[in-house]
Subunit: 243 residues, 6 copies
């Protein structure tokens, strides 16, 4: 039987760590092959600490952020990480860049995909990445795109947790228990040397989402305790044989 796979579309190279590092490590542990595509390094907009250093250049920042992302990917047991290096603030993708993403989608044939919230007034790169993910998912399903290749099915697109969820109109409909892999997620988070102010922030997020997990799995009457969790919003309906 074929291996299960998942694909993460991350606007900047650190996004996948804070927002779905637990889901990645957990599904790797569940024998999925998880591929991460970093559309940019977040080199201009999400690397303030590096830019405050003397003699900094765009190339140095990119190299540094790449190294951090690779370390984090290793900590999470990521199967494959790709850096598209498309630039950030703003992230812009021409037809060739989109084709490159479609190629990855088709090669991976993900059972599910992960990307950003559909609205983000603070960070237009984030919502842009998701709109491109939807477009490329659609093209990957087209029999007339590179005829002969295996076309894509209908994988769920989960939107991972943005910063300041309420401002992004993001509403989680699934909580994932990431307790078994928390140490890996925390290790990955600590690879993000330039954003140390977020380490504790996202640890608190994981702890509070675990409270939500517990409540929604039964609350004070037999709810299953989770210590760390992540939340996701589904774009598409599920298909089931049992409610």
């Amino acid at each position: 039987m074929t291996k299960k796979t998942a694909l993460v579309v991350s606007a900047h190279s650190a996004d996948f760590v804070w927002r779905c590092g637990g889901a990645i490590a957990l599904h790797q542990q569940l024998e999925y092959d998880v591929t991460v595509v970093c559309l940019s390094y977040g080199e201009r907009g999400e690397s303030a600490k590096l830019w405050k250093k003397p003699e900094m250049t765009l190339e140095k920042v990119k190299a540094e952020r790449r190294k951090e992302a690779e370390n984090a990917a290793r900590a999470l047991d990521v199967h494959d990480i790709r850096f598209f290096d498309l630039g950030d603030y703003p992230l812009e993708m021409d037809r060739a860049a989109k084709d490159q993403l479609i190629d990855v989608i088709r090669a991976v044939q993900p059972d599910f995909m992960l990307s950003h919230s559909q609205y983000d007034p603070y960070n237009t790169d984030h919502m842009y990445a998701t709109s491109v993910a939807l477009e490329c998912r659609m093209i990957a399903q087209a029999w007339g795109h590179n005829p002969g290749e295996k076309v894509l099915g209908a994988p769920q697109l989960y939107l991972f947790e943005p910063h300041q969820t309420e401002q992004m109109n993001w509403k989680p409909d699934v909580f994932l228990d990431i307790t078994p892999v928390w140490e890996k997620k925390r290790a990955a988070i600590e690879c993000m040397l330039g954003q140390e102010h977020l380490w504790e922030y996202y640890t608190r997020v994981a702890e509070n989402r675990a409270n939500h997990f517990t409540r929604n799995s039964g609350g004070q009457s037999g709810g299953r305790a989770a210590k760390y969790a992540e939340g996701f919003q589904s774009v598409f309906p599920r298909t089931v044989d049992q409610l």
Copy 2:
């Protein structure tokens, strides 16, 4: 191990047939015990055909609708059906009626619940039933309500498909394949002698929802074909160990 259970809260005695008859029959087949509570018989507002007959009385209409509902329940293998006889158009529930529903919830300890959409400008009984279902679910969770009884966990509340879905702001996030029990649902539908104009209508709904099932399970690239399906909207987030 304890048996799995489900609970349907149906404003009028026919609602459970059109809207979740498939889910009921399927989960009975999956060894759930499904309990149906009919808050009213729909005797005033959903029995036009009977009222057009001569010499009709409220009691005769209620008896007729009850018989139809019992027949339908039998066709669906419903474990238990309760008639609260609270009146319709409008349905109104005082504290005692709500306590009666809470008692059923606690006795059943449902793994999931089913009720109407949260908005329905055509039929205020429907949205009222759901708001009561939420209130009673909450009270059933309270340790101080009839202390000593087993309190309720956190069962999902699925909103089943209303008539004219878009006008009710109802958006399904899960499609259930009911092909294996379709014959039972159709048989139950045909018990509704007073609403024959809806038999084909809801058969078409089931066929078209099956198309949605197929599309969302893979579409033209390996989507699993269903011939009949039902859609549901979840009120609460899910808790999972795998996406």
Copy 3:
């Protein structure tokens, strides 16, 4: 052929003037019989000017507001105006009061109904009136409610313009040209002696809605000029033979 009819459900006795006085006068002119039901006189909450006078009593306020509303109704050629005198701030309707409204609905058999916006955080009486209007419309359609009476069809419910539209989530989808009856509406407005501060306000509203009428009927390329208009939001879809 039967006469066409319309029914206005007004929470307080002045509401129908500001919010749909033009629609009333216009449809009277179009040979409709328009009935207005004032659920209360707005005696407690919308009569500040009277309460500032010495020796004022609830009965005096009610008498005064009733007189104003009768004068306004006369100015608008209202076919029939009913005062239910149910009290305001808060308006509350028991089963008997609702039955009274249902009786009027059935007697009038309106081609369309008019009431308030569905949300109003400033004035809970307004949204309450609309929720009751929906409930009573439903009951009036029930064959089992007072069997033998003519049941109601499916009249549109138009929500007339609230004060501070955006705060009420009210979005007009139809603009009505009331230019031919503007003098009548203005005369009715001037019957509201206690709310003189609103005379010019609602005149400006009518003029600005006329600008919207013109824009949506063709704008700078042949839009039909209206000088005064009113806006309405439809609750239900329309059924047509031509788009």
Copy 4:
């Protein structure tokens, strides 16, 4: 007097058939001239059946889909059909392509326009087509665009029914009785040889929308029976002389 006209903006060459074939045939019968613009042939993304054949090429698919669309247009008595051949999955329009659409809009001077829903996570071409339709409608209204040409008025833009309406946030506010032209719509549908799985699907949609038509035109108390109907969502408010 000038002839009445309508304009359909269809992302792919088959969309107009399923989604508004009835409206087209009906308005042709009502002496409108209806023009259909197919922005693409749906050659890559909506022609799976053809691509599964051996030796298939993009040109062959396009020729096939064009032939089908022409046949369908003939069945519907379409006044004029234009193929822009802009490519699909993704559909992209540069300034020249938009100008071409603006030219058609100005030439047709439509009394109303028809296009897709404003949101569609399954098919980004659909929502793109509507956003372009809005942009081009605006430009066609500009006196400074090709000065001297007759500028556009303010035609309604109706959004026709998408597949899986609830997922697209599409809410119909008008139902059109297409019973008189149903045979033509069905004939047009049967021209779509590559999508036979949708023939019955959209027949069921038309039948169920007819149920909605009947309900909203009076229901069990004198509602006018329609056998087939189509639903539409209006983008702009209407302007009327009578409610």
Copy 5:
């Protein structure tokens, strides 16, 4: 000059602590008199820990919860705390109970009010409390309610942070720095002996809201650091002399 005042409407006796304890302590420090109304003790639904003890009675639970709330109020320097003892799960208010709340509103003449989110499918008491707060605010503004009393102005109603914000459709539009009074809020939290599992949870909430405060006050370019913050959603628009 008159003292500034604020009024908190808390469905259960612990709600004010978690959700706006910081705002209370801060405004007391700013010389406001803050009054807290606890509509119930949360004795049935929010006292699980007590009910698990032997020999527990409703009166004992209420006494215990009252003592905790009084201790918390003292820790926050609350000016006045009132216990309405109306029962919980469900909370229900008759006309007399509402009049009691209106009396408090008029006596306090609050510069602003605080209550729950407007939607909460987990806890219908919460949304009920807010709907009553809006109704009573309106009545307190009525010149005809207890004529002669000073009528209420138009205080803002802030909705404090619910548990699982996204599920409640709650979106904060203002963040308040509560760093100067954090020790008081934490002390108040620790008075809630029955809900120790929430102490750290709400400490994390305060820390993460501080991150949001910092970001929205300037972010990485001079944002003012807050260590603890609370978020609120405004129901009404503000009126200002400067943006």
Copy 6:
């Protein structure tokens, strides 16, 4: 201490006058330096009156609209007005044009920004301008964009009042009293010779918004009377030390 500043991003050269002329004049009076960026002259789409004159050319229209805007800016005491001359109907901005806007943002370092509503089906230029304003605000905050320049903080983006507010999903959350500068706004409005039909329209808007100001500042119980006001919708939450 540094001077306070504000930045207006206006899609067409007249927009800033109708929509925030009062805010501009008021803040100039409050010693802010207000910069206005006109992305286009509205030469094609908002200059119908000029185009109806003989011998008109695009350059003449642009010159005329620029002169009007400069006059209006003078009437409002605008500190600095920039004309980007990017074309309208449609407005399109390439990377260079965006960089130009980012340069202005960084040079101005605004305490707050003003732009259009986020949705406008009548005028896609308006919503485009706001989406670009958000993108450029984000880039101006990036340490890696033109390293060495002073990066932007987190200024509020206020959305000023569109035409037909309800159609644009625009909901004001702040009303600004512009009474002290009304004469200046009216003078600026009268500079718009080509749109005389809007002079009275926007005067009425200002008067009615003043009614809203008064109501929300206390209503009939001590509300502060304003004679003219403007409304704005905030995109981001506020950060405060007092509610």
